[in-house]
Structures are given as structure tokens and as C-alpha cells.
Symmetry: C2
Subunit: 467 residues, 2 copies
């Protein structure tokens, strides 16, 4: 173990011996997230209790030039929590308290290591609504959601994490602790460091407190599963629904394989799918007035009539709704259990979805890979799971990256970009030149240097290896 | 005229002689906005046609170290468009075209010098909705709205400018032209330079194209004017309405004087106000279903019953609605026509409004000034107009700034901040130490230096004179 013994002693002095780990088991445990099969263990795992301890750790990391990687729930899909250059793995797990639910101002103040679903349920108990629900909401943490600017199924109506973050307590890489903004709905006071911090993937500072805006809870929803005979038409239907003036609270796309594999993976969910069906849309509308929702559902049905669809399944009970959502949320796991894969998080203006899907398939044909596509179609956010299946290791390593590059070139050509909600992290960083000019990347890197001149915080992420 | 003659010749070569002005009349015209009675004329007014010309101008400004101030519609209230250090006044007026309304993706791409109301009407003709409506929407430009992160009456339900900006074409101070993001609803690809640019008040780059998200148009609204016998109860009612689960599309507060002065200023608007009334709330709900709106209005009435209110005025026709909105939108002008004044743009979490209003009045008593308060109460955004009236010039210059400082200290103490939607600009910059630590301000200044190492772009704004 090459970790500087003097620095280790100081770490122990900061957080206490019981919160510093150098054993292989712990290091390996904190060395991976949900990104493919990557494992990059830190040299030492440290579990601070609060912002002050984190401040001391970052000062130490600067003194000794130790790479330091913040580690959340490790549910990330872009490798943001991997300790690429070893060093300190800074687990946030002890900052796990909801500090205050402010019912007067419709706000919550929380520490980062609160499971998103726990936070959503805690505010729901007070009749309040935090709409952002990543598919991993049962295990991911709100801090990671802020770091990656996570989305989820409801983003199409309610927006993504960034749209709810009002204020952040952040430990800067130099150890200073600041609040980035104010607990207000509007703010035109200096540069928006709150929004600069959201989605910065733990490279600009460590988020220790989060103030989120909440909404009043909606009491009703209608959920329907629509089978399409042509996947391309499912994509076309997405923008047709919006053009008709309806804003669904969810509009999810799943290719045939996504559903088949998920139904195989979860044998407790039963949905009958005809052989001819190529894709599904899962469509939800929500609000306080059931009659209005039924009439919106009818309007959606009228829009859908112009496409070739099979019989629509309406989820009548809460159990049926939960089953359909469980199916949708389990697709990633199901695909993962089926084959080695790489996941891309492409996003385009929603009308371009049919072109994106067609392009992905034809690029796959060219490079010899199969893909399973699904995602938040209402946002134009398509998750592309590239399946290794029986592809040779050689082709997997050499051909697939070329194909991914072409997919991203297509995405950017359609006025989209590389990642809608997963972040760039470790696995997409060498595609950043497709989305940004050299000037633009250098500008981002200069901002990084302003915050973190010694590049101690989450190095090896976002920026391409060669700039 | 001390402007470098060589630089002047080069400016003429870039934009053409007919778009370069050095006469006093033009310089004075472009030397003020709506901020009190400040006049800071640039040495030369330049009217470029496009991003390429702006790029050349900024390169020139760097070569000769010439301060350069972007000038929009000059409706700003924080002095952002004032050429404090003379130099080039860069009028954006020729970049005045709507480039595309994309009905398939619910987006608009526009140049900055489009009047906000013109843009709103253009998209409304296609059945689409751009919700952000600053009170000056009939004269302000969308580019200025982005630069200041403007709000307006509908922000309480629909958010502020930042919530609609998807992507920006920006000329950086070094002359490079970049797009900050992508035309997508979600984006987790590198640092969010789009949001860093929004609200940066023309100090980080010149915005030359703007891509905004649009919504489907709402077809109905209910508008009511509620007179309160106690101003403090009007403030209390604001958060009570939200706590009851209603999200109005507007919730505006006006003190008695604000209405009286406005009715005097616009004798075509007639609203009867009893002597005992201290304040009004103007409350709107909107949506597609009139029945729902009426039932929401009834719910609001039930909430209001717990307060001492006079008879509620419902605007039945479009004309009546327009008259009430005209009244609300004219308050600032009316106050301005009545007395020399200073306007503050305080914002707090909305439940703190009663404390803010009470504090402002008691600070006024202490320092001997009267104030007229009104604003977007649903957002906790209170505009404080400090009235000179018969105060001595000496007290106006020495006592009022002390009072303003106390008001801001109160605001920040209530977890609010200095500006909700007007920006810091020239007039609030020396109060920034109240909202931010030295570290924090230095961080912002370092970001400014990354973009603009020679400090040519809109110098003398945002940052306090002494840091």
C-alpha cells in the first residue's frame, strides 16, 4: 500500500480511526459503481461526518497532492465515483440526514446521502412533491442526483434535478465552505454558482447540504401502455402528443427486447405482448382532477389513432401502475443481467427521435453490434444499450468505440448531445470533442482550475485525456 | 473625444461608417437605461450586424484594452447597460430577428434584440406559450432578459428566464464564438455554461442567439384583485395559498400607495379603493379548463376568509383583465413620475415576506425615508421603492445607503438575497459583501478573469469596488 503514511495518520486524526479503511475488501467495495464492470479502488476509504471534516480532508489532499474522489450510492452509469488515480475515496454515507422540510416555503434542506425515494416519500407525507425520480430512485442518493443533474421519467413535465436546486452548501477544493446562492425561487445576484455546481460530477466541490424546491402533491394519475407495430412510429407519436397541446407527466419508450428481457427477468410482472409489436410507449398524465385526466387520456388516444398500434393497456389500480413502473425501471438491470453491455445516454430534440433510432440501428449494422434502446422519449433522451452478446472481444474493444463515436456524431448533428442525465464521468470523456470545440473545452478546464488548481478533486473525469 | 483614432477607423472598417456614432446626442441616448437618473455615455456607439462583427469588435477591444458595454433595450433597473468607463457602447439592436419557431420541438431560436412581448405574441400565434413576462415586456428585449435572468408576474408558476434557456450562441471576450449547450431539454454534458451565462449581466460574453423552450398555450385564466385592510395580512396570505396546494399563475402584492399613484398616473383605469385598505393582492390562476379554474378560485377565496379583506374584484372580461394588468405593470413608472427614488429588488423565501415588509418600514423610520413596496409576492420578490420626496439631498446621499444596507442585511438574514430579477449591475455592486464571503466573490471574479482576462467586457458591474 503506497499511500503516504503521514497523510494517513492525519486522516485518522480528522475523522477517527473507525472511519478510515485501507483493507482490500472495503477498497474494492468502494471501487466500483454501476458502470459496466469497471473497478478502480481508492487507496484509502474515508467516511467523514460533516462539512468541517471534509474541509480538513481537502486541505490535506491539497497539501499532499492526493487525488480525492467523492463516492455516493455508487449507482452511477458514467463512472463518476471511480477512483481512477487511487488516492482518497471520500464516502459521503454519514451525511445522511434530512435537515428540514419547510412546509411554509415548500422547501427541503437535506444532506446528500439520503436515498431519493426516501426523500420523495418524506415530503409526500407532508402533502408535498419532489418530482425528480431517476429509475434508480430506490438506491441512488440525492447528492449524486445533484452531481449528475439526474432526470427520470417525470422530467418531461417537471424538469430535472437542476430545476429544483435552490441552494447548495459546498466544500471547495481548498477547504473553504460556501453556500452557492440563497433559499429563494428567483436569484439574479452574481454568477449562478449553484447551477455551475449541479452536474459538475464532483469535480468542483463537495456538496454537503442541498436546498430543494418542492411542489404541492398531485393526487391522481392515469397510466397507459401502448404497443406499436413499428418502433419508428412510437418515436413519431412522442412529438405528435406534445404538438396536440398535452404535456404528459411521463412518456417512456421501450424497444421490444427491453420489454421481453425485463419480463423474463421479473417473472412476477405479466404483460402480454403480440409477436408483431416492435415497441411500447408508457404514457402517464397526472393532476388533481380525475375527469380532466380521463379527457386528456382520450385526447392522447385520438392522437395515437393515426399510428399502427395494438390494444392499449390502461393500468386501473395502484398495483397495476406499480407493476408497469417496476417493469420500466428494471430494464437497465434486465439488460445487464443478459449480456455485457455499454450504455449511452443520447439526447436530442424530441422530434428527431425517429432519425436517432434509425441511425443507431444502421450504425450497429455497420459495426456489427446489436442495441436495445429505451428511455425518456418525451425529453428526447434515449438510452442505447450496446450488447456484446457473441461479438468477439477484439471487435468489442476496437469496433464498438468507433460505432459509439458515430452515434454521438449523429446525436450532435441532430442538435442533441452526449448525455441527458447520466453525466460524462470516466466512460464518455473521450467523446467530448464531438460536442465541444477545443476553445470550449479549455474554457471548462480553466473553470476547473479556478476551483481546483492542484486537480485533486475527482481527476480523470469529464475532460478528454488529450485536450 | 479621447477615443483612439486608429481603433475608431478599425471599428468603421468592421461594421461600416453608418453604424459608428461619436456625436453627443447618440452617445447620450445610449448612455442611460431606466436606472434612476444615471447617464454614462460611451465614447463611441457601434451597431454590429451579427456575431462575426461582434467577434471582430471584441478582438479589437482586447488589442486596445477598450472597455466595451453591451447595450440592449435600456430598460434595465440595475445600470447594467451604462458605459461606466466610457469606451465602446455595443448596441445589439440590429440582431433583432426571430430565426425559427420550431413547432415540432416546442422551441424558438431568436436573436437578442427582439421585444419580449413580440416574441410572446409570435409564439402564441402558433398556439405556443413563452411564459416569462417582465413588467417591461412591451419594451425590453429577450437578450436583456437572459443577461439579467428576468422574472415577471408568471414566474411563480412557470419559473424565470433561466428555466427556458436551452442553448446560447455567445461571442466570448476573446472573439471566439461558441454554442454553450445543446437544443435539448436535458443535458448532463460538461459544465453548464448556459446557466453560467444566464444572469451574468453581459460580463462573460455577448449573447447573439438564444434557444428557448416553449409550452403549449393555456386557453383560460381567472384574475382577481383582493383588498386587504392590513398589508401584513396580504403578505401572510401569500404562503397560505400555496400551503393549501394551489399554484397560482400570478400572485402580485401592491401597497396602498402603489395603487393610488398608479391610478393617478393612468386616469383611464378605474378601481375603487376604500380608505381603510392598506394593500392588494392580484391573483391569477390559469389552465385549459374553466370549471377547474373557478373551483381553484373558490379554494383561494376560502383561504382568504381567515384574513380581513374587503370585497374581491373578479375581472370578467379580457378588457377588465388587461386593465388590472396594466395597472400592475405601470406601478414602477407611476412611482418614478412621482418622486426621485431608488429601487431595490429584494427576494426572500415567501413565508418571510411579512417580516421583510415590517423590517423595511422600521428601517425607513430609522433613517427617515418612505418606501412604496410591491412585487411578485408569490416568489417572495418584493420591489422596494425608496422615495426621496422632501428628504434633504444630504440625507438622500448619506443616510439612504445605510438604510439600504440594513434592508439587504435583513433580506440575507431571512435566507434571501439582494436581487430576484433585476441584477446587481452598477447600483447594487457595493452591497455584494452582504450576500457573499470574500472567498466566494473572489471565486466569481476568477471566473470572470477566465472569460475576460483584460476585463474589457462590461467593467464596473457586479463586483464591489473594493474586494
Amino acid at each position: 500500500m503506497q499511500f503516504n503514511p503521514e497523510a494517513l495518520q492525519k486522516l485518522i486524526r480528522i475523522v477517527g480511526e473507525q472511519f478510515v479503511f485501507t483493507d482490500d475488501e472495503t477498497r474494492n467495495h468502494y471501487g466500483h459503481d454501476e458502470t459496466e464492470d469497471y473497478v478502480f479502488p481508492p487507496s484509502v476509504v474515508v467516511k467523514p461526518a460533516n462539512a468541517f471534516e471534509i474541509s480538513e480532508i481537502l486541505k490535506l489532499a491539497n497539501d499532499y497532492k492526493i487525488p480525492t474522489t467523492p463516492i455516493g450510492a455508487r449507482t452511477g452509469l458514467s463512472g463518476g465515483a471511480l477512483s481512477i488515480y487511487k488516492g482518497i475515496g471520500l464516502s459521503m454515507e454519514r451525511l445522511n440526514k434530512i435537515i428540514e422540510i419547510d412546509e411554509n416555503n415548500l422547501q427541503i434542506t437535506t444532506e446528500p446521502a439520503v436515498i431519493t425515494q426516501v426523500l420523495r416519500e418524506a415530503v409526500a407525507e407532508k402533502g408535498l412533491f419532489y418530482p425528480v425520480d431517476p429509475s434508480s430512485q430506490g438506491s441512488c442518493w440525492i447528492g449524486g442526483n445533484v452531481a449528475e443533474n439526474s432526470g427520470g421519467a417525470r422530467a418531461v413535465k417537471y424538469g430535472v434535478t437542476k430545476d429544483y436546486v435552490l441552494n447548495l452548501e459546498v466544500v471547495l477544493p481548498n477547504g473553504e465552505i460556501i453556500w452557492t446562492g440563497a433559499n429563494t425561487l428567483k436569484n439574479s445576484t452574481g454568477y449562478n454558482l449553484t447551477q455551475l455546481m449541479v452536474g459538475s460530477e464532483g469535480t468542483l466541490g463537495i456538496i454537503t447540504k442541498i436546498v430543494l424546491k418542492l411542489l404541492p402533491q398531485n393526487s391522481h394519475s392515469v397510466l397507459m401502455l401502448v404497443p406499436f407495430y413499428k418502433a419508428s412510429q412510437a418515436c413519431e407519436a412522442v412529438s405528435a402528443i406534445f404538438r396536440d397541446g398535452i404535456v404528459p407527466s411521463a412518456l417512456e419508450f421501450m424497444e421490444r427486447d427491453a420489454i421481453d428481457w425485463t419480463l423474463k427477468y421479473h417473472d412476477d410482472i405479466s404483460v402480454k405482448v403480440k409477436d408483431e409489436v416492435q415497441a411500447h410507449l408508457l404514457i402517464e398524465v397526472d393532476g388533481n382532477y380525475p375527469d380532466i385526466l380521463f379527457s386528456e387520456a382520450e385526447k392522447i388516444m385520438t392522437v395515437l389513432e393515426q399510428f399502427e398500434i395494438d390494444e392499449v393497456l390502461f393500468a386501473d389500480t395502484e398495483d397495476e401502475k406499480n407493476a408497469l413502473w417496476k417493469m420500466r425501471r428494471s430494464v437497465a438491470e434486465a439488460v445487464k443481467s443478459n449480456s455485457i453491455y455499454k450504455e449511452e445516454d443520447t439526447v436530442v430534440p424530441r422530434y428527431e427521435l425517429p432519425k436517432l433510432l434509425e441511425g443507431i440501428k444502421s450504425i450497429g449494422n455497420k459495426y456489427g453490434f446489436k442495441s436495445v434502446c429505451y428511455g425518456h422519449a418525451g425529453d428526447g433522451n434515449l438510452h442505447v444499450n450496446i450488447i456484446k452478446s457473441d461479438m468477439s472481444d477484439d471487435n468489442w474493444l476496437t469496433q464498438v468505440p468507433l460505432g459509439i463515436r458515430e452515434i454521438f456524431e449523429l446525436t450532435v448533428g441532430l442538435k442533441g448531445t452526449l448525455s441527458g442525465e447520466h453525466g460524462i464521468g470516466f466512460v464518455q470523456k473521450n467523446y467530448m470533442d464531438i460536442a465541444f470545440t477545443k476553445t470550449h473545452l479549455e474554457l471548462m478546464e480553466s473553470i476547473k482550475r479556478v476551483f481546483d488548481p492542484n486537480n485533486i478533486l475527482n481527476p480523470g473525469k469529464i475532460f478528454p485525456d488529450e485536450l
